[in-house]
């Protein structure tokens, strides 16, 4: 057991990376495996600095491949273990993530997106959205929470552990370098004070009991001999994953009820959109926001309803339509025209969105 540092409600002014380390401790995480890559380093810095107080464990591995796989090892050993990465690290960690997907290992990872492709920038982007949701050589049986600020980072990091250990799909807190590096106030709390009970972990390797007496030896595999054998397994996973939408899909709407122009954005861009919407409303333009919080699975029904209510849609993100591609598939059949505001690897400001929506109000989208 680890010592929880936040015993009573505490308001602190921290960077997002620091918040994630505190949140993992609040969630009773026992071990972090990691490899340095900007902009997520302070998660492990903070985690390491707190180790004498928390009694948790840490291993700095030789790369993100091993950070991912050793996290799987720690989880198989029954520990609430996690890792964090970004950019090219997220790319090479997909190897371990696909093993987690295949073997239903409750892998938890914070992704602090940076510019891509390649080494690109160490600063910010939303260009790992598709990779985080659908990376690896699989079907994207993953749960992805997209956060929009420090309170989200704290809340959803705690939630990610419980979601992962309840449903046994790899679970991500998808944030970005802006959230990781900027400071803002955050209310930290003991999850128990909010009625949140941490789902107990269990060991897949060396569980209780003696082999040959109380139990058989465990044999965990990820290789199948026949195509049909594999499909049978994946068909079951698919049923489980599709059932998740009703249970865990989350979204946020802001002034979306009567919105004529509906902005669809996730993560930190959704925050810019909120400021833009207030400004646009003052100017008499009925704008609103739909923000998917879970990108996998998407809350498809409320999404479709919001889209159908609006006269125009604006997709905006710090990528070239990675979120929009997923949304467009989910709202297939809706006929609301849309426009786009994509800035690859660059922040979208409230001003950007105001200007774009004003233009859409004058000259409606036709796509």
């Amino acid at each position: 057991m680890v010592n929880k540092l936040i015993k009573e409600d505490t308001k602190m002014f921290l960077t997002g990376n620091e918040v994630l380390a505190y949140a993992a401790n609040a969630a009773e995480a026992e071990f972090m495996y990691g490899y340095p890559i900007t902009p997520q380093n302070e998660i492990m810095h903070t985690w390491c600095k707190l180790l004498p107080k928390t009694g948790a464990g840490f291993l700095q591995t030789e790369d993100e491949i091993s950070a991912g796989f050793s996290t799987l090892g720690g989880i198989l050993a029954g520990k609430r273990a996690f890792t964090a990465t970004a950019g090219p690290g997220n790319v090479i960690m997909q190897d371990a993530m696909s093993m987690a997907e295949m073997m239903r290992i409750p892998f938890v990872c914070a992704v602090m997106q940076r510019g891509g492709p390649s080494t690109a920038t160490v600063i910010y982007a939303q260009q790992e959205t598709r990779l985080t949701c659908y990376g690896g050589n699989g079907e994207g049986f993953r749960i992805v929470y997209s956060t929009a600020g420090h309170q989200d980072l704290f809340d959803y990091m705690i939630k990610a552990f419980n979601t992962a250990w309840t449903y046994r799909f790899p679970t991500y807190v998808l944030a970005d370098g802006y959230q990781g590096k900027m400071r803002e106030p955050v209310n930290m709390y003991d999850p128990a004070s909010r009625g949140i009970t941490m789902v107990p972990t269990e060991a897949s390797l060396l569980p209780d009991g003696e082999i040959g007496k109380d139990r058989k030896s465990m044999h965990w595999r990820n290789t199948y001999n026949m195509e049909e054998e594999l499909m049978e397994v994946l068909d079951e996973y698919k049923v489980d994953f599709e059932a998740l939408e009703d249970k865990i899909a989350e979204y946020e709407e802001y002034k979306a009820d009567d919105a004529e122009i509906l902005v669809i954005a996730h993560g930190i861009v959704a925050r810019s959109a909120r400021t833009a919407i207030d400004e646009l409303r003052e100017k008499g333009i009925k704008a609103g926001l739909f923000r998917p919080i879970t990108l996998r699975p998407l809350a498809r029904k409320p999404l479709k309803e919001a889209v159908n209510r609006a006269k125009q849609i604006l997709f905006t993100e710090s990528a070239d339509g990675q979120m929009a591609q997923m949304i467009l598939e989910a709202i297939y059949g809706c006929t609301t025209p849309y426009s786009t505001l994509y800035k690859m690897g660059v922040g979208v400001t409230g001003g950007d969105i105001v200007a774009k929506v004003e233009a859409m109000a004058k000259q409606p989208a036709t796509v």
């Binding site: 991912g68 050993a77 082999i211 044999h219």
Partner: protein, 253 residues
């Protein structure tokens, strides 16, 4: 007059008797390596705390071979999964089982860093001088002049380098006080078992162990039993069979 032999083979307790016949190709060395390993686990009475990780390649077939908790991994990634386990559960004795490709090519960075950090685990690297599962391509350990699917005219060391000597490399970087590094061979099963025993004792005491085992691949080598044995002897000349580091006994070399 024919008699039916109904004497059960002497199976180690740590071997999973439910598996039945080995799934490896006829003449393959893996069965011998695994059986020796299982006997060594028996010798030390550590079955209940052993975690066995198998790499991809022929090693994956060992996923249910032992009667110990086992996890199948990705190619080259058995080492990090197993040290992930032993870091999280210090009671566990971790064994990562891999081929020469898994250890010395695709997973070489993990092998090197596990040795440098002195991860509390045994890495067993089965060297059969080629990639078996994928159909017999050149491995880092392929002998000079050896014909494989990707060196159909024989390995040219000028173009592809010299065969990698895993045990020597690990001996050079592992902590001599806390490690056990050896090369063994399936031509001496008794020695193989005692080598595994020493390696596992080192791990049980909190150290790092690496055992490279010279093995055979008659199917991809396209050799009969006589030529297979001759090839193994040739390997033993190239790859020195010995204990390189024996930290638990305070010896080095």
């Amino acid at each position: 007059m024919a008699y039916k032999l109904d004497i059960a083979p002497a199976l180690p307790d740590a071997q999973n008797e439910e598996v039945g016949a080995s799934k490896f190709c006829p003449g393959c060395g893996h069965g011998m390596v695994l059986k020796s390993l299982a006997f060594a686990i028996d010798d030390l009475g550590i079955k209940q705390k052993t975690v066995f990780g198998v790499d991809i390649g022929c090693c994956l077939l060992a996923w249910n071979y032992l009667d110990v908790d086992t996890v199948q991994n990705h190619h080259g990634r058995t080492t990090p999964v197993i040290y992930g386990v032993t870091r999280a559960n210090p009671e566990a004795i971790g064994i990562a089982y891999m081929g020469d490709g898994g250890g010395l090519a695709i997973g070489a960075q993990h092998l090197v860093n596990a040795a440098v950090r002195g991860e509390r685990m045994l890495i067993v690297l089965v060297n059969n001088t080629n990639y078996g599962m994928t159909g017999g391509q050149m491995a880092p350990t392929t002998l000079p002049g050896q014909v494989t699917e990707t060196t159909p005219y024989g390995r040219d060391c000028d173009a592809t380098g010299r065969p990698a000597k895993g045990a020597e490399m690990i001996a050079a970087i592992a902590n001599p006080e806390k490690s056990y590094v050896a090369r063994a061979t399936i031509s001496n099963m008794r020695k193989l078992r005692s080598t595994f025993k020493k390696a596992l004792e080192t791990v049980d005491k909190g150290g790092f162990a690496f055992v490279e085992v010279l093995s055979v691949c008659p199917l991809n080598w396209r050799t009969n039993n006589v030529d297979t044995w001759a090839r193994l002897q040739q390997m033993e000349e190239y790859f020195e069979v010995k204990e390189f580091v024996s930290g638990s006994e305070g010896q080095n070399g």
